[in-house]
């Protein structure tokens, strides 16, 4: 017989009360686990997308924007004064201080043409650089071998009923062979036709012009922000943005959601802890006679405290484990509703460890005063004199 035997035997007989106790804390722990699991999944989703981008920096022409606002609410804007870059100026990119961090510089020209009575977006690229950069592209066919060959995005191919080997007439006097169809990427490439840079410049009447540049650095956490500023200094007419920056604005929403989650979870956990406190106080009062017996047969105050706190630890442990499991289950169920197209990222073991630790700690803290009160009971008063 050890003190923990007394604790566990007591828990076994008071099943209803224990279920009530566990539920209080469990709901709080499950709430925080659900919310943090959701934010964790959302963050991982974004990180994965970030990892997929070969380009870390995007350079587009600066444009003026006239913001449209009605009654103080901005409803969008009108872009004007867009000036494309000159291809010959791109050499300035290699003059920045951090040029050693530059990987690929992938220029593109963009424009629309009419094909089969439809307006189709054309993108001209340097295939040697582009195919190395976009290593997640999977081609049904072979990469273009000449300037007269193009790649068609999956949606464009379906719309125009094109397949590898087909010929398309982009201008009156110039036709191109479809070298490959791009497997679906989920990005804008799916709906466009991609051809050789200079060939497309000619088709679009934009000789020597560049619509945008994707620039890849050698590593993800290089001084991208500094490189962005250096490139921006070389190209005052450009808007240079690290891709991470655009993605990070989405992260900010997640951060906001996370902060609110902490607040809500904190409140729920506080209520759960209060429930533990009140229930334990009641339990100690109910066990006055029992505590009196313990003290009378020689248990010290510390022994009585230990019995009660061991019960609290067990309650906390069960709450933490069930709360972690329940929270993950709720996150898995709720994720597709909250963020369509997303999926649950899986169990985060460190979150599980924190959940259990938090539950046990809160249970102990909430039970400390009742345990102390119980242990300080005068044995003879507790037994109402022998």
């Amino acid at each position: 017989m050890k003190l923990y035997n007394i604790s566990f035997n007591n828990l076994k007989r008071r099943k209803a009360k224990i279920i009530f106790l566990v539920s209080g804390l469990l709901i709080g722990i499950a709430t925080i686990v659900t919310l943090l699991s959701i934010t964790d999944s959302m963050s991982r989703d974004i990180e994965e997308r970030l990892d997929r981008f070969g380009a870390n920096i995007v350079m587009v022409p600066k444009s003026e924007n006239l913001a449209l606002s009605y009654g103080g609410i901005t409803v969008g804007g009108v872009n004007y004064a867009v000036e494309e870059f000159y291809e010959k100026d791109l050499a300035h990119i290699y003059q920045i201080e951090n040029k050693k961090n530059l990987g690929a510089v992938a220029p593109k020209v963009l424009g629309a043409v009419e094909l089969q009575d439809r307006d189709i977006l054309l993108m001209g690229v340097d295939f040697n650089i582009e195919l190395a950069l976009k290593n997640w592209w999977h081609l049904i066919g072979a990469p273009p071998a000449s300037a007269d060959e193009v790649i068609v995005g999956s949606e464009a191919a379906a719309t125009l009923q094109l397949k590898s080997g087909d010929k398309i007439q982009l201008t009156k006097d110039r036709s191109f062979r479809v070298a490959a169809v791009l497997e679906p990427t989920g990005a804008t490439e799916d709906g466009i036709i991609i051809g050789d840079l200079h060939a497309m410049q000619a088709v679009l009447g934009k000789d020597g012009r560049i619509s945008m540049v994707e620039i890849a650095a050698f590593c993800r956490d290089c001084p991208i922000s500094e490189m962005v500023l250096q490139i921006a200094e070389q190209f005052p007419g450009a808007r240079v943005t690290p891709v991470k920056q655009a993605v990070m604005s989405k992260m900010q929403s997640i951060e906001l959601f996370k902060s609110f989650s902490y607040g809500i979870a904190g409140l729920v956990i506080f209520i759960g802890s209060l429930l533990v406190f009140v229930t334990m106080m009641g339990a100690v009062n109910e066990r006055t006679r029992e505590i009196g017996i313990f003290r009378a047969i020689g248990f010290r105050r510390g022994h009585v405290m230990q019995i009660i706190l061991l019960e609290a630890m067990a309650v906390g442990l069960v709450s933490g484990l069930l709360g972690y499991g329940g929270g993950n289950l709720a996150a898995w169920a709720v994720m597709p509703w909250v963020i369509p197209g997303s999926s649950f990222a899986g169990f985060n073991l460190s979150l599980g460890g924190i959940a259990v630790l938090l539950a046990v700690s809160l249970s102990l803290m909430a039970s400390y005063y009742p345990a102390r009160k119980g242990s300080n009971m005068d044995p003879s008063a507790a037994l109402r004199v022998l």
């Binding site: 956490d221 290089c222 001084p223 990070m248 706190l309």
Partner: protein, 146 residues
């Protein structure tokens, strides 16, 4: 009647008299450790959340003079005093400035007007969230330290 034998229960007597408080009891230790854990988690979470909320409306706009000269000090002081501007800091040996501002109170268009009024050709190099910029710089500094 038996005479009292002082030595008969000597061991028991020694046990009773030998009881000394040995440091923290289980209860005090458990209470202390739990409090440390809960406070620790609170300290890890709460200041971050407070800092996030405080910086939520702040953006950073990074400017450089087209003439690639240094920024006039009095212009920077003037800019720092504009409504909505939290701070103006020099960067990259004074050739660039970082204007931290509350986006709900002012924007880069007002800064363009300000610079024009002071006869300065300033180029906006980048604009981003203040909090995110600090995070990115922290990550990149860690990488460079490696």
């Amino acid at each position: 009647m038996m005479n009292y034998d002082y030595d008969k229960y000597r061991d028991k007597r020694a046990k009773v008299l030998g009881v000394k408080k040995r440091g923290l009891g289980f209860g005090a230790l458990a209470g202390l450790v739990s409090m440390v854990i809960v406070l620790g988690l609170g300290v890890a979470v709460i200041p971050k959340s407070i800092a996030f909320f405080q910086a939520r409306h702040l953006d950073d706009a990074i400017y450089k003079l087209q003439a690639k000269t240094a920024w006039p000090g009095e212009v920077l002081d003037d800019l720092a005093g504009q409504a909505g501007v939290r701070s103006v800091t020099a960067a990259d040996n004074g050739s660039r400035i970082v204007v931290t501002f509350n986006r709900s109170k002012t924007d880069v268009h007002k800064f363009s007007i300000f610079f024009s009024e002071h006869g300065l050709q300033a180029v906006l190099l980048n604009k981003m969230s203040h909090g995110q910029r600090l995070k990115m710089l922290e990550k990149e500094a860690h990488f460079e330290a490696l």
